[in-house]
């Protein structure tokens, strides 16, 4: 049975995951979120992407994140798209900078006022 370290929170529970067909059996998780993570990870791993984008007319970049986790295999495609963005200030924390980042259906949002 494959072992898995939960990455949902810094506790990092060590879990065992057993996949039988479409059923995923998880042991060792400390909470419900860990269970959901293990199921998702066994089938289609996802990650939140954080990065910075250049802001029009500013020297310093703006920290950004995906509003939800995106498929792991889309991380580099998403980064490439992040690099094309040049948001205009003023920017509010939580403001959507790009809907549907790299075809993931997930928005990229500002993580700071700018």
């Amino acid at each position: 049975m494959p072992e898995m370290t939960c990455i949902v929170c810094p506790v990092g529970c060590r879990m065992t995951v057993k996949v039988t067909g479409t059923a995923v059996e998880v042991t060792g998780n400390g909470c419900r979120r860990g269970l959901e993570y293990a199921r998702q990870e066994a089938i289609a791993p996802q990650r939140v992407l954080t990065a910075v984008v250049a802001v029009a007319g500013a020297e310093q970049p703006l920290p950004v994140k995906t509003a939800r986790p995106i498929p792991k295999e889309k991380l580099f495609a998403a980064m490439a798209e992040v690099k094309t963005l040049r948001p205009q200030p003023p920017i509010r924390i939580g403001q959507v900078l790009k809907e549907d980042l790299a075809g993931t259906g997930v928005a990229l949002v500002a993580a700071k006022n700018f």
Binding site: I7, V8, V48, V52, A54, Q60, P61, P63, K112
Partner: protein
């Protein structure tokens, strides 16, 4: 030179200082001077753009700047908090005089009724680990790389080797990779990583970055710029096995070799430090040995979680408010010491009349152990790792049993696996 009486001075406006200042203001302190040497509050959180902050405290997963904003935004509701950014504290005395300087006010001496130390920690640099070789450009601490990439918008190089598997090093391995820098290897002197397990998974394994345990850099090559590092495995006594050394080409060496609480001000004032943490000895109120001088956050001990910093800093802020009003109860504290496989315990003195959360750091990794308080087994520890703090809250009921010095240890569990 301007001298000014005030209620509370908080030194450092990172997560610790912000939480402490807010808690003190909420508790009715009339004037709080919150000082930071940077132009923006938030401390190191502003460059920690990765997510994972706040799960325990807010039940949400936030990035560093978002977590900081949760404490910066409410400052507006508390006009009694005066935020002084771009301001450097150059001296602190035992009688709570804080000498601060900035280009607007010049030199100001605050005579404070209470002081909270919240200066955080700093990274150990190359000099702290004595790597031989030339001194080319391209050698950075992980935090410097983080600042360059996330605040300045600059890339440090094209191919990197990271020495040390602390959390910042792991997080920067991922960050560099996502920005197109080739991370050739992460090297760790010890046989285990000092970072959180989740960061090994999501920062290294996700990107197939190799982690070499029990390896170190034995020489840095390069004239103008780093061209390669020589790497060797180490034996049980951490001595390099030079006959097995090999070179890894890279233009950048990133050092993630530990953090040290920043206590120059504290030491000069006469604050006693704990050699195990590098931070002040504190009690349940997060008060140091000097009356009215409190400390919280990474200046006390290096935390894994900012959520814990917030909790303990709120406690320090509340206690400072009581102290200012002359209401901080004087109780006889129980001294706490570390026993088997315990490197440090914070706070080092606890009040028996209230719940106190202990932060325990192990010396070496183990499995299936038990946290023992004096002679009592208190909680099971399936996994013990030096990189992951053990939290345990002692209740007043438990504390009734103890009147003398208390030893905290990690002992063999019932079932060994």
């Amino acid at each position: 030179m301007l001298e000014k009486d005030t209620d509370l001075v908080v030194i450092g406006a990172g997560p610790a200082g912000l939480a402490a200042a807010l808690a003190a203001a909420e508790a009715g302190v009339g004037e709080v001077i919150l000082i930071d040497r940077l132009e923006e509050p938030g401390g190191i959180l502003q460059q920690c753009i990765h997510n994972g902050f706040g799960l325990r405290y807010f039940g949400e997963e936030l990035t560093g700047p978002e977590y900081a904003w949760r404490f910066i935004e409410p400052l507006a509701q508390y006009p009694q908090i005066q935020l002084k950014t771009g301001t450097m504290v150059i001296e602190l005395t035992a009688d709570r005089r804080v000498v601060a300087i900035n280009p607007r006010d010049g030199l100001v001496v605050y005579r404070a009724k209470a002081v909270i130390l919240a200066m955080g920690c700093r990274e150990r640099p190359r000099g702290a680990i004595n790597i031989p070789g030339s001194r080319p450009a391209g050698i950075f601490t992980a935090g410097t790389v983080q600042r360059l990439m996330n605040i300045e918008g600059l890339l440090p190089g094209k191919t990197a080797v990271i020495l040390g598997s602390g959390d910042i090093g792991l997080i920067m391995a991922r960050r560099l990779t996502l920005e197109g820098v080739k991370v050739r290897a992460v090297l760790e002197l010890l046989p285990y990583s000092s970072g959180l397990q989740r960061n090994i998974v999501q920062c290294l394994d996700d990107y197939q970055i190799p982690l070499y345990l029990s390896h170190t850099v034995t020489r840095i090559r390069g004239e103008q710029r780093v061209s390669a590092v020589e790497v060797a495995p180490v034996d049980d006594r951490l001595q390099p096995l030079s006959d097995q050394r090999f070179a890894i080409d890279c233009d950048t060496l990133v050092l993630s070799v530990g953090l040290v609480p920043e206590n120059e001000l504290s030491v000069n004032a006469g604050v006693q430090l704990d050699p195990a943490t590098g931070g002040p000895l504190v009690d349940s109120n997060y008060q140091t040995n000097l009356p009215g001088i409190f400390a919280c956050g990474n200046v006390v001990h290096v935390h894994d979680l900012v959520d814990d910093v917030t909790e303990e800093s709120r406690m320090a802020g509340g206690a400072a408010a009581l102290y200012i009003r002359g209401q901080l109860a004087k109780v006889t504290m129980i001294r706490v010491s570390g026993g088997r496989n315990v490197r440090s315990v914070v706070p080092q003195q606890i009040a028996p009349d209230r719940p106190t959360t202990l932060y325990v750091r192990a010396r070496f990794p183990e499995r299936n152990r038990i946290l023992r308080v004096a002679d009592n087994d208190r909680t099971k520890l399936p996994v013990v790792a030096p990189g992951e703090t053990i939290r345990y809250t002692l209740t007043p009921k438990e504390l009734q049993e103890y009147r003398e010095d208390l030893s905290i240890s990690i002992e063999g569990g019932a079932s060994h696996a």
